[in-house]
Symmetry: C2
């Protein structure tokens, strides 16, 4: 357009001067952000992130769907689609969800989001004000904790046991809050193939949880990012389904069943809540170009067939991981085999520190998650989170072998009373 000046001027808005003008939420979140992962310069074996299997990413199918959409509905795909999301994708999700949830669902219960993290964001935006109480199961996914915290909510962590959320402790917390004249604005939980523990909440606890939600008028935010990835037998019905679609926001995503790079997901919720979530977003709705492409992938059972294939891929990786853990780490750690999802929650034997174990593994170019990272208060815990989803299947054995060596070293050092 024109030459304004030869070079950027001296910084006017710096991190320091911005401090005076940024919002309260920006202050809570701080300037640090999650950029794209920087690749480790070493040839590492990673059990770190809940990322999908790379060879299974359906690029050919996405290209086919893009072509079909541009040929058939070019005009609609390339124009605004409204804040609820593109109609064909809402319809395809309503139809598929009716089947999965076992109850008839119309489009009015579906809002398309830019992934589960965004779905959690819009649900929090619709419900939370500073000073509100938000309940979370503990441990949980730290990204969601960060989001909930940014709204200025007081987070109350409800412990889990090996069957998931301690619903009895939830009840106690709700009673205590009621006694204090306070009321929780939501419960955030991942009842199926939980992140990080891998645990699935049994049916009886789900039903009790719904009773509590009804009695205490507690909105439930059910994160179901991993619900479709099950091995052997399907999980119990979702909280959303068990309540007839009336008590929970079910947060879902195409990230784990198609690709994280789409940034596309959906929330199922009571229609009045769908409307509120649509109203608090500023992006004029998720991309019709992308949404219609994914609707085309869903059509004719294409996504169902893909998910079936993924279950086999991840079951095989889990088998390989468990086999290796039993051989290389059995002396130092134990775990409960998950019935689905991407994670094994490895409990270290007494005296072994998760942070030290993580560090020792890292020195052997093996990346694992450390338990304390997943607790609202950063509690000490003797767990590691191993994601088996992303690791190439042929690297699992070697990765766990090195992890076993790392655990042996940490055990030897703690037996000798050395700092590690």
């Amino acid at each position: 357009m024109a030459n304004a000046s030869a070079a950027p001027a001296a910084p006017f808005w710096t991190e320091e001067s911005l401090g005076e003008v940024v919002s309260a939420r920006a202050k809570i979140l701080g300037p640090g952000v999650w950029a794209a992962a920087q690749p480790d310069p070493r040839p590492v074996i990673s059990f770190a992130g809940g990322l999908p299997d790379v060879p299974s990413l359906p690029d050919a199918e996405l290209l086919r769907a893009t072509r079909a959409v541009l040929e058939r509905e070019r005009r609609e795909a390339l124009q605004y689609g409204g804040v609820f999301g593109p109609a064909p994708l809402r319809a395809a999700i309503a139809e598929r969800s009716s089947r999965i949830e076992g109850l008839p669902l119309g489009e009015e219960r579906v809002i398309i989001t830019s992934g589960a993290a965004h779905g959690i964001g819009v649900a929090c935006e619709a419900l939370l004000d500073p000073g509100d109480v938000a309940l979370v199961e503990s441990p949980t996914f730290p990204g969601s904790l960060r989001t909930i915290r940014s709204f200025g909510a007081d987070i109350e962590a409800v412990p889990m046991d090996e069957d998931g959320l301690r619903v009895d402790l939830l009840e106690a917390a709700l009673r205590r809050l009621a006694d204090e004249g306070r009321r929780a604005k939501l419960l955030y939980c991942i009842p199926t193939h939980q992140n990080p523990t891998g645990v699935t909440l049994p049916l009886a606890r789900r039903e009790r949880l719904l009773e509590l939600a009804r009695d205490h008028r507690l909105p439930l935010m059910e994160d179901d990012a991993y619900g479709e990835i099950w091995f052997g037998k399907p999980p119990p019905p979702s909280l959303f389904a068990l309540s007839g679609g009336e008590l929970a926001i079910k947060v879902a995503t195409f990230s784990k069943v198609i690709a994280t790079g789409l940034r596309l997901g959906w929330n199922l919720a009571p229609p009045a809540l769908v409307n509120r979530m649509a109203a608090v977003r500023y992006d004029m709705g998720s991309s019709p170009y992308l949404g219609r492409t994914v609707a085309e992938v869903i059509r004719d059972g294409g996504l169902d067939r893909h998910v079936e294939g993924l279950r086999a891929v991840y079951a095989r990786k889990l088998d390989r991981l468990c086999d290796a853990l039993d051989r290389h780490c059995g002396e130092y750690a134990s775990y409960r085999r998950p019935e689905g999802g991407f994670f094994v929650w490895l409990g270290l034997r007494p005296g072994l520190s998760a942070l030290k174990a993580q560090r020792a593994a890292n020195e052997k170019a093996v990346i694992v998650g450390a338990g304390p990272h997943f607790f609202a208060g950063g509690e000490a815990t003797q767990h590691l989170r191993l994601a088996f989803s992303y690791t190439p299947v042929e690297e699992i054995e070697e990765g766990v072998h090195r992890l076993g060596e790392a655990l042996a070293e940490v055990a030897a050092r703690s037996a000798n009373g050395q700092p590690a």
Copy 2:
């Protein structure tokens, strides 16, 4: 997964019961939302929305780019790309913007957004708290007003004249605020091919505006959705460029130069502000699949060539519109021919009501925007906004012919003192 129940239960969360639990922001925004436009059952001629020309939507180029990306960078396109947005798109925008803005810009000044509306949303999120003062030029784009208002900000409207924002009145407002011990958190403006007026702020006013921004430490939010669509001669440098990239957030989008259905745009800003905007979003960044596709479209000057073609398309539509206005509406209305953008701001002669004119045109199946809609306070104004971008070129003459008839009717009725 399982049969939960045969049919949805009775509504538990209704609009009424939700009233107790929704957030303050959700209360401001209300449950009503902008769904996808419902097509008018009549064969209307629409001058209503700032939508791009449909035949120019580059579907073939997008399909080619998608194929190239999936062949070359499948893995990166289908995985998370970080909150700043996919690296190749940031790089392509930094390179292209360096050329357009006339100053060397690195990726650290670029954040990819899900369109300009989202870009405005993240900027507000980073800066605004309830009770903060936000300045806006008036009239302006109502979607942005809605966003700014939702943060609980006190909006102060600064009038425009036929050369755009009255910078002298802005100065008076800033002084008054300073005297009151208050400080504006941002100024939202559309200095180039403004929506709705079509006006472009002259260079001298831009320079004075930057002096004020520096003196009053006022962050500028410069909405540049239409900046690249100029006819004849390019507009003056952007506020962002004139400040050496240090004083303004320039909000930009691919909506008007590629397609609104992508939901993809970018903000240029000082690096410290880019970081803050990245930190306050919850979507884990805009889609790498989409972003890399658009980077491929930009590459080798492809987008530049496309934009050149668009300028010719819209210049031709504007010619057709002005010619028809002069012949059919000259008696009732006048306008200043815009130097770019999508809009003509049609001033009706004294005594003619914009709302009545809009209604009369609608009865003739011609859709136009009414001026009062674009003012923060809904002020009465005798203007209509005509978007010439979307209307098929062969319908413009007929549409304006009918508009002229509508204006004649309204004029006759007001001359007779009849209610219209």
